[in-house]
Symmetry: C2
Subunit: 125 residues, 2 copies
């Protein structure tokens, strides 16, 4: 099977939590050249965001089983039966609320991605 290649369409700016550990909005900075692909997006209240969990290492991608929610009292479960970040292709899928659009910058709530994560796709939620 050939590998498939993805070119990021943007990246995440900002931390998912402030210094107190409280969730805070994050910005998706869409790459120049995709202006037209955002036409009318401000009318979407919710978006589905696909992003690359870029901090995962090779051994995380090789992990097959986890204790769900990192609780060892949960029985070992295959990663495909969980929402664990450990998975062969580290793509996160999150439904977010669109708070504001300013040109190529989308401010969203609920993304929970690390600062700098490549964004792969945005769909209406």
């Amino acid at each position: 099977v050939l590998p498939l290649t993805i070119t990021p369409i943007g990246h995440v700016v900002g931390s998912p939590e402030n210094e107190l550990g409280t969730p805070q909005p994050q910005v998706i900075e869409v790459r120049a050249g995709h202006e037209e692909a955002l036409l009318g997006i401000e009318r979407c209240e919710e978006l589905l965001v696909l992003f690359w969990m870029h901090r995962l290492q090779a051994q995380d991608r090789a992990c097959k089983r986890v204790h769900p929610r990192a609780d060892r009292s949960n029985p070992l479960t295959g990663v495909f039966a969980t929402r664990s970040q450990m998975r062969p292709n580290p793509i996160g899928v999150t439904r977010v609320r669109l708070v504001e659009r300013d040109g190529l910058r989308l401010t969203v709530e609920g993304l929970d991605a690390f600062d700098g994560s490549p964004v792969i796709d945005i769909k209406s939620g």
Copy 2:
């Protein structure tokens, strides 16, 4: 920005519709080597499936705006504000019902992917 690479974890077998155009279950054939990653998946009623829309051509990936639902009376809208298949990284995200598991074969309802589509990820739904 470097391209990111994905290795499919399986592929879709069967057509989304029968000869009468009625939706029918499809099979996800998971690749050998991922047995452990399926541990306990039969307990999931719903799964989120990420697949590669392999029939899209380069010009489909370059498309920035569409008439939603292919209805020309809908105003042109950026692809990131739609669920159109036209998008730079042609990844479909669909919630399916798991009907049966037989080893590496998962029979699912509601996938609506072309026969042969590479499957990228499976998550609990």
